[in-house]
Symmetry: C2
C-alpha cells in the first residue's frame, strides 16, 4: 500500500474537530501533499487548506481522496456514498482507515474496478509477512514507546522525522497504525496482523539500511497495557531499535480503558522497554522522554520536566509545545 | 470449534512416527476418545489402537475423522483425497490442523455441505474475540511457559491435567495450538489470531471459574524468542495465571530456528515471566520447572535437577519420565 500523491482530504459532514482527527493529522504533517479539502453540507470543522469540489481537486492534480474521518464506531455515512462513487468514477484512488470498509459501500467496488482505481483500506494488512529472523541489521532505528496507549507516540515520531528532514538527514517515518499510514501514505496496521507475524511484519517495514539512515518508527500500545502489550513487545523485537523515546501523558489516572489498572512508574517503564529491546540489540538505549504536556500548566510542566530529567538522566521534551531541537542535537551528537 | 467424539485417527501414508505427531498426541492423551486408526497403503507408522476401515470406524460409533498428520510443509496428499471424500459422504466430521486447508481438497466442501458435516480447520480461529479487559477473575489458572519454543509446554500441561483428573479435581486443559486443539477437541490457535485480540482470545478461552476449578493452559513460544515473544506475552496477560510452570529442554544450544540467539538463564526467564504475570495478577507464582530430559543421561538428569532446584527453590520434574505426583502434591498443598 502506497498512496498516490497529491491528496484531497474528505471531511464528509463530521460534527467536530475530533471526528476529523485523521485529516488534521495529514494536514499537520503532510500539508505539501494536500491540494485541499472536500466538505459536505453540515460539516462542522475545517482545515487550513483550500475548500474544493471534486472537479477542482482533479484540476489541481489530486490523485487520491483520503477519508479524513475517525468517527465513533468507524462507520461510513450514507450521506458520503454519492461523493465516494463520483470520486471513483472520476478516477481518484480512495483511502480510508475506518472500521467499515470502503468495499461495503454499494457499487463502489464495481465502479472502482471499472475505472481501474484502487480502494486503500488502511485497516487491512497487505501482502504476506515473514516470521521474524531477529538477525542484527544496519541503520539507525528510533522507536517511540509509551507509558500508555494514545500518549503521543505517533506525533513524537513525526516531529522527530520532520526535524531530521529539516537537517537534511536521510530519514523515513514508519507507520504502524491506521492514522499514521494515511498520514504517511504507507505502513503496516500492526494490530490487524496475525500474531505470529507481528515482529516479522515490522522487520519487513524497516529493513536494514545505510549506517547514517534513520527509521523513525511509530510504536503501539504499551508494555504495561495488558490488552495490547503483546503487540508492543512484538513491535519492539521487530523494530530492533537502536534508540527509544518514551512517550508520556502526565494527567492519566489509569491505563486507557482500564479504570483499575495504574500507570507504570517512568523508570520501571524505561527499564522494561530496554530489557525487551536488549533481546534483539544489546546496544539499544533511551534517547529521551517526550511528554504531551498540553493539559498541564506551564508551572507544572517545568516542575515535571525537571523531575523526570533528574530521575532518568534523559532529555525531556514536549515535541508539540517546546520543540525538539535540543533533543535532536543530542540524538545526532550521540550517534556520531 | 468442538469436535464430536469418539474419533477415528487418519494416518494417511506417512513415512515415519514424527509425521504422525498429532495422531500420537491424541492417542497418548485421549485414547478413550479414539475407536481406532485408518492407514493407507504405504503407511510406515502405527498407533497402539485398532486398525479400521471407514465402515468399521462408523460401526464403532466414530463421529469425527481427525487427520493425525503433521508433515513437513503441511500439505494434504492427493493419495488421501478419496478417503476424505468418502468419509464426508458417510457423515463423518473431518478435522485437520494442516497448513493446507481441507476446503482446498476438490469437491470436499461441496460433499461436506450436502451431507451436513463439519470441516474443522484447527489453524483457523473461529468466532470473534474481545479486547482483553484484564479484570481480575476467580479460579486457578496454571500456565506453562518456556525457555524456548517446542520444549514440552503442551505435554506438561496435559500431564498436569491428567494427574488432577485422576485426583478428581475439577480441571480443564486449554489448548492454544493446532495439535493441542486436535487433542483436546477445542481451543484457540492463538498464533493465527489478529494481534489486537491475543489477550482477549485467551481471556475468552479460560473465563472466570469456581475457586477450586483449575484451567491448565498451554503456553506458546517464549518471552526470549524474538520471533514470537509478543504472542507469549499476550498469552500470559490473557491467561492471568495464578500458577506458572517453566518448561525447559536442556540440550538446546540456541533458540529454535535462530542459530545466533542464546538460551536465557533459567532464573532470568522465571523473573521475566513473573513480571509479565504480575501486571494482571500480583499473586502469580512459579510452581515448578518441567524439564524434557529425554535426551540426557540419568546421571546428567539428576545433576541438572539438583542444580535447578537449588537455584530456584522450585520442584523440578520431568512429567514424561519421572512423573508428576510430587509436583501436583505440592501444587495442591500450596493452593489450599
Amino acid at each position: 500500500m502506497k498512496l498516490k500523491k497529491p491528496y484531497v482530504l474528505f471531511l464528509g459532514d463530521v460534527e467536530d474537530d475530533l471526528a476529523a482527527k485523521v485529516a488534521f493529522g495529514i494536514a499537520d504533517w503532510r500539508k505539501e501533499d494536500c491540494v485541499g479539502q472536500i466538505q459536505l453540507e453540515g460539516c462542522q470543522t475545517s482545515l487550513d487548506i483550500p475548500k474544493l469540489s471534486l472537479d477542482e481537486a482533479q484540476n489541481m492534480g489530486a490523485k487520491t481522496l483520503i477519508v479524513g474521518v475517525a468517527n465513533r464506531g468507524g462507520g461510513i455515512s450514507e450521506t458520503w456514498h454519492s461523493t465516494l462513487i463520483q470520486a471513483a468514477e472520476m478516477g481518484f484512488d480512495i483511502a480510508s482507515g475506518l472500521h467499515q470498509l470502503l468495499i461495503s459501500v454499494p457499487r463502489l467496488e464495481e465502479v472502482a474496478h471499472k475505472n481501474n482505481i484502487i480502494l486503500h483500506e488502511a485497516r487491512i494488512p497487505k501482502g504476506s509477512f515473514p516470521i521474524a529472523s531477529a538477525i542484527p541489521r544496519s541503520g539507525r532505528r528510533l522507536l517511540t514507546v509509551g507509558t500508555d496507549c494514545s500518549v503521543g507516540k505517533m506525533y513524537t515520531a513525526l516531529a522527530i522525522e520532520r526535524e531530521l528532514k529539516t537537517r537534511e538527514i536521510n530519514v523515513d517515518f514508519r507507520a504502524t497504525g491506521q492514522t499514521g499510514i494515511l498520514i504517511n501514505g504507507e505502513g503496516v496496521p500492526i494490530d490487524a496482523v496475525v500474531s505470529d507475524f507481528i515482529s516479522g511484519a515490522i522487520e519487513q517495514l524497516c529493513p536494514e539500511n545505510d549506517d547514517n539512515h534513520w527509521d523513525i518508527i511509530e510504536g503501539q500500545g504499551s508494555l504495561f497495557h495488558p490488552s495490547f502489550a503483546g503487540v508492543s513487545l512484538g513491535l519492539i523485537h521487530g523494530a530492533q531499535p537502536t534508540d527509544l523515546v518514551l512517550c508520556h501523558e502526565p494527567t492519566r489516572t489509569h491505563m486507557r480503558g482500564l479504570p483499575d489498572m495504574p500507570l507504570p512508574e517512568i523508570l520501571e517503564c524505561i527499564q522494561s522497554n530496554l530489557e525487551a529491546a536488549y533481546l534483539v540489540n544489546k546496544d539499544a538505549k533511551f534517547s529521551g522522554i517526550a511528554v504531551n504536556s498540553s493539559l498541564i500548566s506551564e508551572l507544572e510542566r517545568f516542575a515535571l520536566f525537571d523531575k523526570l530529567k533528574e530521575a532518568s538522566g534523559l532529555i525531556v521534551f514536549d515535541p508539540m509545545i517546546l520543540g525538539i531541537e535540543e533533543f535532536v542535537d543530542d540524538l545526532l551528537g550521540k550517534a556520531c
